[in-house]
Assembly symmetry: C2
Homo-oligomer: 318 residues x 2
């Protein structure tokens, strides 16, 4: 089958083996995959991954133990737990020590015509959600994870740092709480997508507000964290949404003296994301920068790596 | 009056001016002061402080606007707010941007025969608390701050890193919650103080447990934080109790991937500390390593800086 394969370097292949599903898994035919910053980090060596990257997708079930699933359109949670450890039994397979992660760690991912995933990871989509919207379920769920972890409401002043793909999703999700929100970024054309939804924005170089109750760092940069500590109020909360390639120098004394709470945040609730798309709570199509066929996948990855580019989609059909 | 004065170097003086109390302040005659690690850091340049250090004390009110306070024995909260900002009005003077801090920032402290402090900062002591116990109210309150910030109960596995003065207080406070507690340190004679109270301890080099719900870093070292991240469970909480002199290299990706919550923790509730001493919940006198007169204050500071030494007290009377 056709696939993008990374083994230190990225290649397009049309002879990659069809994945075999194990018991409990479904075989899925991928319709569209989305390129995430994590995929770009993987090409730079993140997680020492080799295989097929890609973890944002919409697909059709080709085969599963439960035949009624065949032909259904689905998205899938990306963490595959061992199923027997304490975390898996508590429903926290995202934190299983022996987990594999679709397209990120020891499991071939979505930049291919087919993938396999445990049936319990799948969410069947309502017809009212388009394929292109469905590709955003995974990153949108990650955005909703912030609201699962901390309380944000109308009384709070919140700042989102970063106007990348994840920042724009996090901003929309946080805007839904009715809080006072300011989004700080570097790209006027990205911030304008949020302004169209009534969200206040600032260009980073013009921004000098302080005293936020909550700051969400979606910059994916080394400096995001220190900016966040500069602008959060004493006893406020800083949420870290993005991994970065190298270790950061952090002023831990500031965290102690100002009694700041720092919260790491990763994968989130798919059901909440699907419901938000179904009800029109978020606007996703303005975030699509380009569409490619998998045959042009290498070009698609290059495009996605360019500064200022938002979501790049890969279509698996010819 | 007699005082230890720091202006880049520490000197003992017997001609330091008697502090004048402003309106709303009390003049206090110090009986005993305790030496904290922060005082040692101040001698190394922390906070660029100059003046009289010292912020742990028990004293007698000499003079105040309310004459009924005169002669009463008191301890005092160390943060002096501006009184008019939002934080002060919310009762969070500990986080006032314009605060001074007794013996730490722009306010002469307790290594002197007399100090002044706003009356609202004072807590009059019950007779059943001894002077030497009372000197521990301030650091014990800082230990209780952990329980003000996060929920710890019998279902939790908690690890305290560090067997210094603060670590031993934090350990006793956390032990009172009924949680499963392990304290990790480097000094057998310090850990034995805790074992006498039924608290489990480990020497750091023998310690390899992981998966704690909560880890409290009281090491005051650069490596405490990374050890804490190593042994906390996914979605667990790391509490930072100590400031360190320089910035740390921290693996922020770990915080994101494991969705760890990091909580900075500083000054705490005096009333809770006083009550814990009054009811015998904590044992403090085993933590006293040495007693000096203020006349030998420089020697006292040197002693307190030695490895393995716990609380060093300074008596102000001849």
């Amino acid at each position: 089958v056709r696939a993008l394969v990374f083994d230190g370097k990225l290649t397009f292949r049309d002879d990659y083996p069809l994945p075999r599903r194990n018991r409990g898994e479904a075989l899925l035919r991928v319709k569209i995959a989305g390129i995430c910053n994590t995929d770009i980090e993987i090409l730079r060596g993140y997680m020492d991954f080799s295989g097929v990257p890609g973890h944002e997708f919409v697909a059709v079930v080709e085969d599963a133990d439960r035949p009624e699933l065949t032909g259904k359109r689905a998205v899938g949670e990306i963490n595959i737990g061992c199923g027997v450890c304490d975390y898996c039994r508590m429903g926290l397979k995202n934190h299983c020590k022996d987990r594999s992660v679709l397209g990120i760690y020891q499991k071939d991912g979505a930049f291919a015509e087919y993938l396999t995933l445990p049936v319990e990871n799948l969410h069947i989509l309502p017809d009212s959600i388009t394929d292109e919207e469905a590709v955003f379920v995974e990153p949108l769920a990650a955005a909703f994870e912030v609201l699962e972890q901390i309380n944000i409401g109308p009384a709070h002043r919140v700042c989102v740092l970063g106007d990348g793909k994840l920042g724009l999703l996090v901003a929309q999700v946080i805007h839904s709480t009715g809080c006072t929100l300011k989004v700080v970024g570097r790209h006027e054309h990205k911030l304008s997508i949020l302004r169209d939804q009534g969200i206040e924005t600032s260009i980073a170089s013009d921004f000098s507000e302080k005293g936020f109750d909550v700051v969400v760092d979606c910059t994916g940069t080394d400096s995001g964290m220190s900016t966040a500590l500069d602008i959060v109020r004493p006893r406020g909360t800083v949420v870290l949404k993005t991994t970065i390639a190298h270790r950061s120098q952090v002023d831990m004394n500031r965290i102690v003296i100002d009694e700041i709470t720092l919260v790491g945040s990763r994968c989130g609730p798919f059901l909440r994301a699907i419901e938000a798309i179904r009800t029109g709570m978020v606007r996703l199509t303005p975030l699509i920068s380009a569409r490619y066929s998998i045959d042009e996948g290498i070009k698609a990855m290059e495009h996605a790596s360019e500064r200022g580019v938002l979501k790049v989609l890969m279509y698996m059909s010819h």
